[in-house]
Symmetry: C2
DNA sequence: CTATAATTTCAGTATGTACTGAAATATCGG
DNA sequence: CCGATATTTCAGTACATACTGAAATTATAG
């Protein structure tokens, strides 16, 4: 696959950003490449175009497929797997957000819950600390409940809400 | 400062999570310690309690102060700086979210805008690619506009909205 | 101005994660 | 079942970031 300068820059940038979103650089680059490609690509072509090891592509694609950021397709008369990117930006955001929630929020809530239980029969920890911890748990549960609600909204409703911007305050704040 | 087992676990856990939120481990631990402390602490005490180098505490605290996650205070008759944690969870989230936006979203939007400009006079990049890139830019601008709106809402309105959960769909989706 | 305490800087080192490439494994046509 | 091609595994290595501790700097009390 031949890349124009803009395409190269795009892929490099996406790789950089991927590292800040919980993917690693080469995985993000693979997704970027597939995202720009009008037709499915096979692993060798990806490895060659990006200049990374074939094995690395193998691992990266599997991760992308697991996350539903990439899908596998077949071509008649070709044993190789071909890959296409998830192109719906909503789905991409959903997947990335879901991954973050799982890695960044869920463990903390679980941990705080356990703390809350332990603190009930804990004589040595100051009351002040107990309040801080339980308060934080309550806060996180509120925020996560909201997140779940948002994610369950139909896409159309979500888009509508986003486009309302500040006006939402008027509706809610009566 | 003396730590009970629950407090130790809390600090360790917060450190782990910090690494996933764009802070580094020891910085997050410092915040956690201050968050649990009923009174301001000075740098030496933090270093000793957490078992990290004094210099590391210095750098970490400065970062936390810059981010407004920690404030400096003084005590009469003591030359040392004392530190207290930002305890408002909304403010903590705001700060962390702001940091992420700055590092993860802003550069990408800026980059995509530049791409869009360059693509106007780019004969070699396929039309298909142009559409993908401009579509993505549009999407990101919608999402970021929404984020700004949310962050500008009064805290009370925000809390109200979060507690509404799914019912928000009914209001919007008419 | 000097002595002392507090803080910061920074070169060197440690640590964790990603990447490579060779070897092993799996898949398929004949 | 065999040979050829595609894919995956994994030990070793590279790389980026964080941490230490000694030295330099800054601030303050007398």
């Amino acid at each position: 696959m031949k890349l124009t300068p803009v395409m190269q820059r795009y892929i490099v940038h996406w790789g950089e950003m991927g590292t800040r979103w919980g993917l690693n650089r080469s995985v993000a680059q693979m997704h970027a490449l597939l995202y720009l490609s009008p037709q499915p690509l096979h692993a060798d072509e990806i490895a060659e175009t990006l200049g990374v090891a074939r094995s690395n592509v193998s691992v990266g694609l599997r991760e992308l497929v697991t996350w539903n950021l990439v899908q596998v397709t077949q071509t008649l008369g070709d044993r190789r797997d071909f890959f296409v990117a998830q192109r719906d930006p909503w789905e991409v955001v959903r997947v990335v957000a879901e991954g973050r929630k799982r890695r960044e929020l869920d463990p903390t809530v679980a941990f705080l819950k356990q703390c809350a239980v332990d603190l009930k029969s804990d004589g040595e920890t100051p009351a002040y600390v107990k309040e801080q911890i339980t308060g934080q748990l309550e806060f996180m549960e509120t925020v996560m409940g909201w997140y779940e609600s948002i994610m369950n909204l139909p896409r159309k409703t979500l888009l509508k809400m986003m486009r309302m911007g500040q006006r939402i305050a008027k509706i809610i704040g009566d």
